[in-house]
């Protein structure tokens, strides 16, 4: 980020104006009060992208995840668990979106979607979605067809950081919503004779490969289906995670999450980045 140059005459007035503002400040005076958990960089970039933070928004659900056993020697999706993981996240997301809608937001940026298993109960987990609701300034170039909200009339959501959000808008795209797909998969154990037969050999274990393929493809195709429902052009910032949670070595959640986007304008030309060589480690 470039900042006003200290030679353009503005420099001496920085502390002066700032201190004057603090001197004028009256406790309890009515202001357009926002809260946000963005970092300073993100906050300034979101402002620069033409958006005003309205407030921190949050949705939470403490969920009892059901029980399902996989057959010992079979590759299979544990659909009860998949549904639980998806449903609970959706509850948290929906509540967060509802808070943002109450604030009259155009979207939510910097969303974090976390799961925390609780100590006080088996199979209890808190699913939580936190983000910052934003509203576009009048100056921001609103999409020609309709506003910033997505085709479901909801504020857009995005797990992109403030920096990525700024870059996305600069490049002429807008986020539509976070899309996700979940698949909890039980990977078969090897049969006894099969594992004996593999001793001392370097071989592929096809059923393991196939299981991982299956599970990831299921998670990704579910995510894609959500993006199609939003009429997205694509999905950016996709993360494909393997989350073991608490189910032991052979049962894993494969979770795909990303931000569905659509173009704001036909061309996507951005400033050619300047190359810099920072004199710091990494």
């Amino acid at each position: 980020m470039t900042l006003p140059n200290s030679t353009d005459g503005a420099a001496p007035s920085i502390p002066e104006d700032a201190m004057r503002r603090l001197a004028e400040m009256k406790p309890g005076q009515a202001t357009t009060l926002f809260t946000s958990d963005l970092s300073v960089n993100e906050f300034l970039l979101v402002r620069e992208a033409g958006f005003r933070p309205l407030g921190l928004v949050l949705g939470s659900s403490i969920y009892h995840v059901g029980f399902q056993m996989g057959r010992w020697s079979r590759n299979q999706e544990l659909d009860t668990l998949s549904q639980a993981m998806y449903h609970a996240r959706e509850l948290a997301m929906t509540r967060m979106e509802a808070e943002a809608a109450v604030l009259g937001a155009d979207g939510i940026v910097g969303v974090r979607l976390d799961i925390e298993f609780k100590e006080f109960g088996t199979d209890l987990a808190e699913f939580i979605a936190v983000g910052t609701a934003v509203k576009a300034d009048e100056a921001a170039t609103a999409p020609s067809d309709g506003g910033w909200r997505n085709n479901k009339g909801q504020p857009f959501t995005s797990d992109l950081s403030g920096q990525d959000f700024w870059t996305l808008v600069q490049a002429g795209y807008m986020p539509l919503g976070m899309v996700m797909g979940s698949c909890v998969y039980h990977i078969a154990h090897q049969r006894f004779w099969q594992s004996i037969g593999n001793i001392g050999q370097n071989v592929e274990i096809p059923q393991f490969t196939e299981a991982l393929y299956d599970a990831r493809e299921l998670a990704m195709s579910r995510m894609q289906a959500e993006a199609e429902a939003l009429h997205a052009e694509g999905i950016v910032g996709v993360q494909l995670l393997s989350l073991p949670h608490r189910w032991g070595g052979h049962t894993t959640e494969f979770f795909a999450i990303g931000t569905a986007v659509r173009p704001l304008r036909p061309d996507h030309i951005i400033d050619k980045p300047q190359l810099v060589l920072p004199l710091v480690d990494s």
Partner: protein, 326 residues
């Protein structure tokens, strides 16, 4: 030392301030980029400042979860409206997410409900701890003729016998200006962040905090929903508990920003702790504590457009193991 009455600064701290005034030695806890940052916006570090208080928290003020029955685990009626919860947006009225999740018969009691409800004395003690530590730190800063304190670190150290030490540690700065603020500002933000904010037309106003503790009785619905054979189901009672306690902490955070007269706040931490207590046999409650810390900021640039302009550049550095640096 023994005859200090708790007002103003302790004698040793006052002595250090006096030595600072006579010697004029400048100290600072800032990193090099932090110090360069604040200097670039006309804030000069004058010295490190500290404030602390040790408190004995002996009475948490538990007055129960509102469950006095004992007939089949039903709390009496009239404890509020369990169906609607989650009205967590400060500053809006009726922003609850009603329906959807039908609560059980229990109801959450937060520390803001009045009286000794829901650990109110405990929360008041935490507020007094942080508040006093910050005030004493600002007193030191004031005696150095500073205008504010940056890069404040707030810490709580647990000591033996239920005692807790609250410490605030930061670097006092003085502005190159003729105007002096009405009261000293303070911020948890590092020097670099303060510099970026000031150049973009925002000034940190003060540290804002919101703390709340809530308690909720485990009623039959909660027990059923969290039991082993419940299948996929939301435990509405626990969700209600955490939603209420977070909403209350956020509201108090919001109020503390408003009391400063600032325009907004950048939160640095939003945390939650939840645990189980068993005040009597077959009577279980859950308690949740939520805290929110941050810096209130005030805008001083008047133009509609932000004064900063970002420059796209591509740093030719080693790939970072963390793909999403924030």
């Amino acid at each position: 030392m023994a005859d200090w009455d708790g007002r103003g600064l302790p004698p040793v701290a006052a002595a250090r301030m006096a030595r600072f005034a006579s010697g004029g030695l400048r100290t600072s806890l800032l990193s090099v980029p932090g110090a360069a940052g604040v200097e670039s916006v006309g804030l000069r570090p004058v010295g490190e400042v500290m404030g602390c208080i040790v408190q004995h928290i002996g009475f948490a003020g538990w007055s129960g979860c509102g469950y006095y029955g004992g007939f089949g685990g039903l709390a009496g009626p009239g404890f509020g409206n369990p169906g609607a919860f989650g009205g967590g947006i400060p500053g809006t009225v009726g922003g609850g997410i009603a329906g959807g999740v039908a609560g059980g018969s229990g109801t959450t009691v937060t520390s803001s409900s009045g009286g000794f409800s829901g650990y109110r004395p405990y929360v008041d003690a935490l507020y007094r701890g942080y508040g006093t530590a910050i005030t004493r730190m600002l007193l030191e800063a004031r005696s150095m003729a500073a205008d504010g304190v940056v890069d404040v670190r707030l810490r709580v150290n647990h000591m033996d016998g239920g005692n807790r030490e609250f410490v605030a540690l930061g670097t006092a700065v003085r502005a190159d200006s003729t105007t002096r603020p009405a009261r000293l500002f303070s911020t948890e933000l590092a020097g670099q962040d303060v510099a970026k904010l000031l150049r973009a037309g925002w000034v940190p106003a003060g540290i804002a905090l919101g703390i709340s503790v809530a308690i909720r009785h485990d009623d039959w619905a909660t027990r059923r929903q969290s039991s082993w054979g419940a299948g996929n189901v939301e435990v509405a009672g626990y969700t209600e508990l955490v939603s209420h306690v977070r909403a209350d902490a956020r509201q108090r955070f919001h109020r503390s920003v408003a009391e400063l007269g600032a325009d907004g706040a950048i939160a640095s931490e939003l945390s939650l702790r939840i645990w189980e207590i068993e005040p009597s046999e077959n009577h279980r409650d859950h308690v949740a504590e939520s805290t929110m810390f941050g810096t209130a900021v005030a805008r001083f640039h008047r133009a509609a457009d932000p004064p900063t302009r970002s420059l796209t550049y591509l740093p030719l550095r080693d790939p970072s193991p963390f793909r999403r640096a924030r």
